[in-house]
Amino acid sequence: MPQPQVTLQVAREHGLTEEEYERLTGTLGRTPTIEELGVATVMWSEHCSYKSSRVHLKKLPTEGRRVVGGPGENAGAISIGQGLALVFKIESHNHPSYIEPYQGAATGVGGILRDIFTMGARPIASMDSLRFGSFDHPRTRYLVRGVVAGVGGYGNSIGVPTVGGELVFDPGYDRNCLVNAFTLGVVEESRLMSSRATGVGNLVMMFGSRTGRDGIHGASLLASAEFDEHSEEKRPTVQVGDPFLEKLLLEATLEIQKQDLALAVQDMGAAGITSSSVEMAYRGELGIELDLDQVPLREEGMSGYEIMLSESQERMLLVTRPENVQAIRAVCQRWDLESAVIGKLTDDRMYRVRRFGKEVIAVPVDLLADPPALTRPSAEPTEVAPEFRPEDLPEPRDYAQVLYQLIGSPNLCSRRWVYQQYDHYVGAATVVHPGADAGVLRILGTDMHVAMTVDCNARYTALDPYLGACIAVCEAARNLVATGAEPLAVSDCLNFGSPERPEVMWQFEQAIAGIRDACAAFDTPVVSGNVSFYNETEGKAIPPTPTIAMVGLLRAAKPLTPWFKGDGDVIVLLGRTREELSGTEYAAVVHGNTLGSPPWVDLEAERRLHQVVLDAAERELLRSAHDLSEGGLAIALAECCLSAPHGVPLLGARVRVDESMRADAFLFAESQARMLVSVRREHAATLRDLAGDAGVAVAVIGEVGGGMLEFDGLASVPVAELLTTWDTALEKLLGG
């Protein structure tokens, strides 16, 4: 097969800039081969190289006493004692999911699962943060149905429970949905596996699926460029997932780890063999030689270029000593997987690849793995939005009607329709199921419980990326604290528009600063993450969306849940409510107003609140705890009445309204650093003292009981009717 001659023009079509092409030819001292151009293009793509984000990511706090694996590896790892570590990461699969929702979402789940078991950890739970356009957009329903089915299709089949997540609708995602997948695994700390190649002369093996022509250029073309009217044509670059094969791959990988057969393991995600082998060699400061004629192929006659850039799913790469090859083959055979020795490690730090017996690539590893970081220009947007004026939100006359309107709105109604399609039982470890503030799992064989959540309010980040990112971290931490868990570490998924636009880079820098400050305040280092740029279509970027996944360990023996537990319990509001109505769901849904700034952030107040709730949880004072966020106090109260598992009798509540402020602010303001708890009457005073001593505002606002949710003098609605509206809204919005 004749290979095209590489020229600047061909390089440009691949997506290289003139400068990058010159660096390639300059270093090689000759015209690159088409294969060399291919691997350079994918390695230098935004998706693989983080070239636009690297200088900024360095500002994030990544260290802490528990951190045993930070950014740079396939996932972050923190030590939790008893010889165990948690391994976790969140990653985006936005563009593939917009083009082909089922497979895009499914392979997103598959990819993040591989990142976790590549580290030697058994995945025990997943979460998904999903963002779609408004229901007015014709594609939204199709995308929601496809993505949810895809997440479930992969996760259910491989047998990892999906225990939580987010689902948000906003017109800003009309043409670019977000699918961020998170997985957490557990590993014996001493058995954490690395992707760093070691030992000159050691062999490189591939195992798992055969390599086919699917997904070529998925990462570089699909994930590293914005959408346009031709996006549909990119559908063939979306890979197809096989969860069954991944299940075998998972078990085989963990068996290889258990028998201590591999020196390094790396999964093949974006840019397939290229990226996995280059990164392994780079991290080990070694060279590598690959013979593509040994790679098991799905179809004959694939060129070196195609093999190098294929993104066929469910494949792994490992480094092993020659004497362990037979044992690895035996494990693979036990799980009916193909395996092959495809190369070896060298000491010359060169990346050499042969196809059909001929060397087609000979490039320094460092050139591929370490392209110069860019410092892209950034600038605060100059366009000034109209100011928010509280008087533009007239106080409603009928609060009962507003309550129904909000509780049935796309962002506040029950997510049951979604999580009912996810297996959240498999693994026999789920203690708190989806629908609560955070998912909680016991760690089998120990007395420990891990809590996890994923959060971002992109309406806030659109108004103020710094405060919005701060709040995303705060809310994640509060969600963990609401279950009685102490926040420990973060993985972030930074979804933004094109980095080539200064205002997007400004948003990015602001968001990084927000995450940095909040994570520093809570001592929750960022141990892993992912950047997804180019989330825009025809020049219109998504709202900046720094999704925060946070993980914690339960302090108390049993987790707290949000729903009310007993008639006569006292409802206590911790934290101060301010007249902050701008940026709220209430302002958007009821008044169509999305102007202004997000609620104020006080990190110190947040920290004190965490301390009070955790102390009270440890002393078993609390019957329920629920974070206050979107929808404010009224919606939080409603959720406390409605979110009990089926079979548990519903409880209403009677609440006194604070008359020192606008009633709608008391009900719907989204002031931060607040938590809603219920306690037995005899414990109310103890909690008040505990909060008072810590300087946290505390108010007994009502009591649990009856069949109505009652706001004195404002509204009184039957809980059963509220439940119907809340519980069926999403299905109705999706069209039955």
Binding site: G159, F244, L248, G427, K558, G647, P649
Partner: protein
Amino acid sequence: MRWGVVTFPGSNDDLGTLHVLREVLGHEATPLWHKSDDLGGVDCVVLPGGFSYGDYLRCGAIARFSKVMSAVAEFAAQGGMVLGICNGFQVLCEAGLLPGALVRNRSLSFVCREVNLRVESVANPFVNMALVGDVWRIPVKHGEGCYVAEETTLDQMERDGQILLRYCRADGSRARDAADGGDYNCNGSLRDVAGVMNAARNVFGMMPHPEHGADASLRDVNWPNAGVPDGLRIFQSIAGWVTDRGQRSAVDSMR
């Protein structure tokens, strides 16, 4: 009492089932591998939930041809106790060890939630720690759990007490007809069937997951009702039956 839990490639509730048998019930439980026909002399074989061989054809259609299944068929033919959960139920139907078949849920969606189950029969090895009419709460999680069989088969199974569990409302009632509303039947199974036993009364399959409704240490958070978790009663029923099987079979033979 010794249990064996089969691992097919793609099984994913095998570990959870072993956990419940060992840690909650305190019994001996061994993993059984699909490539082996050695059942290790266990008293009861459990075929767990999951997606055996990926379930890309019909669910359970490939698993039935595995080496372990020929041993299970022989074991069952000799009166050995077999419990199939979810995918295990599908495998038992495909293997012809249970009547009927499981097809795609009526909703066409995967469904994961707790359901109410009405105990229909208690004079059997699998559901005997209950009274007829008791309502149990056990989770389901499946995409293809709609039980179908010939009308005559269903009639005969009803007559002979082979239908042990049915989907029902929280109060134990069922819809009289389609117009009466049938949300409680999570998958559209004919006659609300959730679990069936073979004529020889030693093979039982159910779509709900007793192993995920068996651990009382999860109860404070998720289950309001005290007492033995409903899922655990399935395993306790089997264990009790096996333990004094000698007596039972003597009684049965006199009938």
